[in-house]
Symmetry: C2
Subunit: 302 residues, 2 copies
């Protein structure tokens, strides 16, 4: 693997993947929207080759023809928890049209490998496909389109991500909410205390390692991976209550818990999907260790 | 069922469905593109209520709110055999965006039932999903979007259509090619004579009966149908060679066969899918009888 193209490069996992690829000596190309915040690349050791994309097929083709990467990591995704009608266009545009342009441009220019990222929300309390949300449905629909290109000869695998977290994560998710409540000594709104929600929180380095290993396997031995999907879970699941308790243990201080102040949406995952593991990959950072690292990044010695 | 909305109403099956619904005394609404050829409705006993749609979600919502049908028959589809990059937008627009607008508008206005139409090309030499073409992949992708709305409470079933044919069919397909060669005494280009292709040619009235029965079942007892798909096959499959021979028998005259003059595409169905039958429905018109009716419609007494 000498040259890789990454979509969704300005996302948190995208930025971390870029850093990892650079550390491996790969020539890294980032496909970004015209409106993307390129300051996201500031923490990287050096800038990737940046390809602003105007949303058209023509430009997608040109970028692919000019770059000719050995592999594409497709992390771009538009997340909407509960959509409103006016958000449908954005979901189609980002999760279907953009991805389909990518696949078609790869086919037209002979780019042979893709690592795709799916979501555990495609498996809402079900071992088979059952979408939690329209967002999840569009991710599944994209896999249907991908299947066509795989049938034409593309080597592609889909990694099903759960919730990822890590140091310097800027997304408004649970671990950041815990950190904020802890740092600022503010209330943390939580669901009703009796609600049993299991979380699969995956430390970012483990998730990035899975992307990297999947990419390497597609380079050398694509057969066992191609056309399949794998679960990138932490192997260290906890209930929401346990996560809060563990955080308090690791941080050495209680936080102000407002149980019942965060109403769960009607549709929410109680038990995350359990799918086949990516062969050869194992998560290595348990939740206690991961939380510790996040606290350290916020300047807490533990 | 008092009021039905039909998409793809100007297609050949659409026109036939409209006639059938009218014969049953249903108030029929046709959702059509601004550019649709409304002359397609001329052979009908009377005009449906016509709703031109400009492609926007807003207008889709308004049409649905105004019409409030008991059921929607979703026949609209954009077919492309082997796509070129510039045809991707059309496939997404027609087979995904339009259908998703339809589903969302139904949800927002409380329209509770949908009969959807899929294609046997979603099962390319495979009992499971394997797309023959990008067209087939977009049809599958739409079913995965549909699954979300079914999970929210929509009653919907998907009928997998094979090749339909019938009197006054204007589409450039095999039966019309046979009729043209027969009427005009011209050469009929055919694949290499050794190629074994099995065809499942479904007489249009049988296909329409399946749509009608599926709709009725969704009205009275949706449970066994909803969230599932059914094969609408003829039960009378023949090889291409047999179809030609049968046509010659029925018409009483040989046609000029140019074997080898119609190159099969790289990807083509050899053995059509065999899926579960729609409960309670049976095809009743065999191929010989169906071809006879087509010949009669062309003014041949048989």
């Amino acid at each position: 693997m000498r040259r890789a193209l990454v979509t969704g490069a300005t996302s948190y996992p995208g930025q971390r993947l870029l850093a990892r690829l650079m550390a491996e000596g790969i020539e890294v190309h980032a496909l970004v929207r015209m409106t993307s915040d390129l300051a996201r690349f500031d923490p990287l050791p050096h800038l990737p080759v940046i390809h602003p994309h105007d949303g058209s097929y023509a430009m997608m083709h040109d970028i692919m023809a000019e770059t000719r990467p050995d592999i594409v990591f497709h992390l771009a995704s538009h997340y909407v928890r509960e959509h409103k009608p006016e958000q449908i266009d954005g979901l189609i545009e980002s999760n279907l049209t953009f991805g389909l342009y990518l696949l078609e441009a790869m086919r037209q220019t002979g780019v042979p490998r893709l690592v795709n990222v799916g979501t555990f929300a495609q498996f809402y309390e079900s071992p088979e496909y059952r979408p939690l949300s329209l967002y999840a449905a569009t991710k599944q629909a994209f896999e249907d389109l991908l299947a066509y290109y795989v049938d034409l000869g593309l080597s592609a695998t889909t990694l099903i991500f759960f919730d990822t977290y890590g140091p310097y994560d800027w997304r408004p998710r649970l671990v950041n909410a815990l950190l904020d409540a802890w740092v600022n000594n503010t209330q943390l709104p939580l669901p009703e205390s009796h609600v049993k929600v299991t979380l699969d929180l995956v430390y970012i380095d483990d998730a990035i390692e899975a992307l990297w290993q999947a990419g390497r396997r597609l380079m050398t031995d694509p057969k066992p991976l191609s056309g399949r999907r794998f679960a990138i879970g932490s192997g260290d699941r906890h209930t929401l209550r346990q996560v809060v308790e563990l955080f308090e243990q690791v941080s050495g201080r209680e936080i102000i818990k407002a149980w019942g102040m965060w109403p769960l949406p009607d549709r929410h995952v109680i038990t995350p999907w359990e799918g086949p593991n990516l062969p050869g990959w194992r998560p290595t950072v348990g939740l206690a260790e991961g939380l510790k690292r996040c606290l350290e990044a916020r300047g807490h010695a533990g």
